[in-house]
C-alpha cells in the first residue's frame, strides 16, 4: 500500500508544474469554500444573535391571528389571563426554556408638547424582558444602562424618535392611546433612555412598564399580546417547538380551534430569508468546488494514463494484476486531491486566523457587524472528505482504463 502511494507521488512529481497548477486550483476551490462558510457563518451568527437577543427572543406565542395583523398592533386580539396561565404552565414545564417575557403591545401618539408622532410601545416586566432579550440593554445609548430596563413612569424611546422630536433623557413627554372600547387616554412620562436603531422591525419600538401600559389602556384583566421566549440554546429550537406545541394546541377557543399560535424567530424576521440565501450560496460554492476537483483531477489522470500507455503495458506484461494497476492510478488521483485540499485547509486556517487578529468590520447604517469567523472542525473534515471522495471518483474512469488495457496493444503504442 505504502509503495503504491510512493509510486503515485513520484509520478505526480514527474510533471511538477502540471501537478502544482492542478493542486493550486483545488487549493483555491477548497479555500474559497471554507472561507465563505466561515465568514457567512460568523455573519449569520452575529445577525441572528442580535435579532433574537435584543428583540424577538427565540420564539413567540400570540393569540391566533395576531401575527397576521401585528403591524396594526390590534388591542382586541390579546391572550386572556386564563390562556396566559396555561401557556406559562407549558413553558415552565419545558426544561430548555431559559426565560420568557409577557408583553402588552400598543400603538400610541408621542407628543413633546410641540409636535406629535406615532410610536409602537411594548409594556414589559423589566426583569423578565431583561432575561429574555439580554442584549436589549446594550442598545441603550443614553440613560442608565445598568439599572432596571424601565421604571414606572419612564419610557425608553428609539433613537429615530429622540432625534426627530428633539427630546433627551429626563424630558417629559405625553403618550396618548385609544383603547379597545374607543376611549382616549393620555399620561405624562419621563424619557428614561434612548435605544440605538436597528434595521428591520423593531426600529420604532419603545418600552414602558407593563403596569403603565395596562393603566394607559384602562385594561381590566391582565391581558397579554405577546410572550417572547428564550431557550438555553438556540440549537434546540425545533425540538422545543415540537414539545411546547402539544400543550399549546390544547388551548382551544369557542369553536374548539387552537387559540394560540407559535412562531419561531425565523418566521418573524425577514433576516431568515437572508440566512436561507446564504445557505443557498454556500451550496452553490460547494457544487463549484466539487466541479473544480472533479474536472481538474480527471483531466490530469486522463493525461497521465494516456502518457504512460507503454508503461502500463510493461507493468501488465510483467505480471501486475489489473487491480493493482487500478490502485496505482487511483492513488495518484487521490493524492493529488488530498494535497490540494490540505493546502487549501492550511490557507483557510491562516486567513481565518488573520481575520481574527485584524477583524473585518461592516457598517449597516449605524449598526456595526464585526466578523469573527471560525472554522468548524466538522466543516473542515467534511470538505477534506468530499475532496478525497471526488478525487477518487474522478480517477476511477482513467484508472479503470489503465487496468483494462491490453498489454500487447499498450506495448505497441508509440
Amino acid at each position: 500500500m505504502m509503495s503504491t502511494f510512493n509510486l503515485a507521488a513520484r509520478n505526480l512529481m514527474r510533471y511538477r508544474r502540471r501537478t502544482m497548477l492542478t493542486a493550486l486550483l483545488i487549493t483555491l476551490g477548497v479555500a474559497a469554500l471554507l472561507l465563505f462558510v466561515a465568514a457567512a457563518g460568523s455573519f449569520k451568527q452575529t445577525m441572528v444573535g442580535s435579532i433574537t437577543d435584543s428583540m424577538l427572543g427565540h420564539f413567540q406565542v400570540h393569540r391566533k391571528g395576531y401575527t397576521a395583523s401585528i403591524d396594526n398592533l390590534p388591542l382586541n386580539m390579546s391572550l386572556q389571563p386564563k390562556a396566559v396561565a396555561k401557556i406559562e404552565t407549558a413553558l415552565k414545564a419545558e426544561p430548555e426554556v431559559a426565560a420568557y417575557s409577557k408583553r402588552v403591545k400598543l400603538g400610541a401618539m408621542f407628543s413633546n408638547f410641540a409636535e406629535n408622532t406615532s410610536i409602537r410601545l411594548n409594556g414589559i416586566d423589566p426583569a423578565a424582558e431583561d432575561a429574555t432579550v439580554p442584549a436589549l440593554r446594550e442598545r441603550i445609548t443614553e440613560g442608565n444602562k445598568d439599572g432596571p430596563l424601565v421604571e414606572r413612569g419612564k419610557v425608553l424611546i428609539p433613537e429615530l424618535i429622540a432625534k426627530g422630536m428633539k427630546v433627551k433623557v429626563g424630558d417629559t413627554v405625553v403618550l396618548v392611546v385609544t383603547n379597545s372600547s374607543g376611549s382616549v387616554n393620555g399620561k405624562n412620562f419621563t424619557v428614561g433612555g434612548v435605544l440605538q436603531a436597528v434595521t428591520g422591525p423593531g426600529g420604532r419600538d419603545g418600552y414602558i412598564d407593563i403596569a403603565d401600559a395596562r393603566d394607559l389602556l384602562r385594561m381590566e384583566n391582565e391581558e397579554v399580546m405577546e410572550i417572547a421566549v428564550r431557550l438555553k440554546s438556540i440549537d434546540d429550537l425545533s425540538a422545543v417547538q415540537k414539545r411546547v406545541s402539544v400543550p399549546l394546541d390544547e388551548i382551544r377557543n369557542k369553536e374548539d380551534k387552537p387559540a394560540t399560535e407559535l412562531h419561531l424567530w425565523s418566521q418573524l424576521s425577514p433576516f431568515a430569508n437572508i440566512v436561507a440565501m446564504i445557505d443557498m450560496m454556500t451550496l452553490f460554492i460547494r457544487i463549484m468546488m466539487v466541479a473544480i476537483v472533479l474536472v481538474s483531477v480527471m483531466n490530469v489522470m486522463l493525461m497521465a494514463v494516456y502518457e504512460r500507455i507503454r508503461e502500463i503495458g510493461t507493468l501488465a506484461a510483467i505480471g501486475t494484476q489489473p487491480g493493482k494497476l487500478m490502485a496505482i492510478f487511483l492513488s495518484e488521483g487521490l493524492l493529488l486531491g488530498l494535497f490540494g485540499a490540505v493546502a487549501g485547509i492550511a490557507i483557510s486556517y491562516a486567513v481565518v486566523g488573520g481575520m481574527n487578529v485584524w477583524p473585518m468590520v461592516f457598517n449597516f447604517g449605524r449598526e456595526q457587524i464585526v466578523l469573527h469567523p471560525t472554522l468548524a472542525v466538522s466543516e473542515v473534515l467534511g470538505v477534506l472528505g468530499l475532496s478525497i471522495i471526488v478525487s477518487g471518483l474522478a480517477s476511477l474512469q482513467p484508472a479503470w482504463r489503465a487496468a483494462r488495457m491490453d498489454p500487447i496493444q499498450a506495448l505497441r503504442h508509440v
Binding site: 509503495s3 503504491t4 509510486l7 513520484r10 509520478n11 512529481m13 514527474r14 507503454r310 508503461e311 503495458g313 510493461t314 507493468l315 501488465a316 506484461a317 510483467i318 505480471g319 501486475t320 494484476q321 489489473p322 493493482k324 498489454p407 500487447i408 506495448l411
Partner: protein, 227 residues
Amino acid sequence: MALIQATNITKNYRVGDLDVPALKGISFAIGEGAFAAFVGPSGSGKSTLLNLLGCLDHPSSGTLTVHGRDVSTLSRNEAARFRGEHLGFVFQDFNLVPVLSAYENIEYPLLMVRGWSPEKRRERVMKMIDAVGMTEQERPDQMSGGQKQRVAVARALVGEPRLVLADEPTANLDHDTAYRILNLMKTMRDDFGTSFIFSTHDPKIMNEAELTFVLEDGRLQTEGGVA
C-alpha cells in the same frame, strides 16, 4: 518434460471483416535451459509467436503448454498471475519505469507482483544488481541504452522465472552492446538455469543462439526439436 510444447498453433488477427493469418500451424518443443532464437523477416510472425509464449495473447487454434501448464485459455487475471510467477520479459525499448531508480525497477516485480518482504527483496535485488554489473542509484534517464537493458535483464530475472522472453532485445543497441547483452543473458542462463527465448532479424545476433527457429510467412522453416 519440455519447457514449451506447441502443437499446430495458429493465430489470426481480425482486421475489419477479414481474418489475417499471422501464424499458420506451428509445432515445436523447447527444453529447460534453452538459449533459443526465432528469426525471420519483418512480418513473419516472430512477435506474434513470442506474445503467445508470453501468455499475452491466446492462439486461435492448437495447444500450447508452458512450464507444464496449458496456457491457451487462461483468463486475463490468471495469465497475469502466471506471467508474474513463471515468466520474465525483456523489451526492445527497455521499458524501465522512468520514475524509479535502477534498484527500484529491479525491485518492482518482487514488491508489486510477488509481495516479498523487504529483507528478502533487498538481498535478492542486490544480488541481481551485482550480477548485471550496475549501481543501484541511477535513474533511467541517466543511463545508456546498454545500461537500461542490463537493468531490464535484472528485472526479468529477479523473480527467478523459468523462462525469459525477449522480443528483439538488441534492436535498439549498437553492435558491441548487443553482443554484450546477449552474453549477459547467456551468463545468466548458465548461473540461474533460466531459459531465454528471443527474436531477431539480425543474422549475426542469430548466431549467438544455441537453437534457432526460422519463421517465414507464419510457418517454421526448420522444425526445431528439444535442445
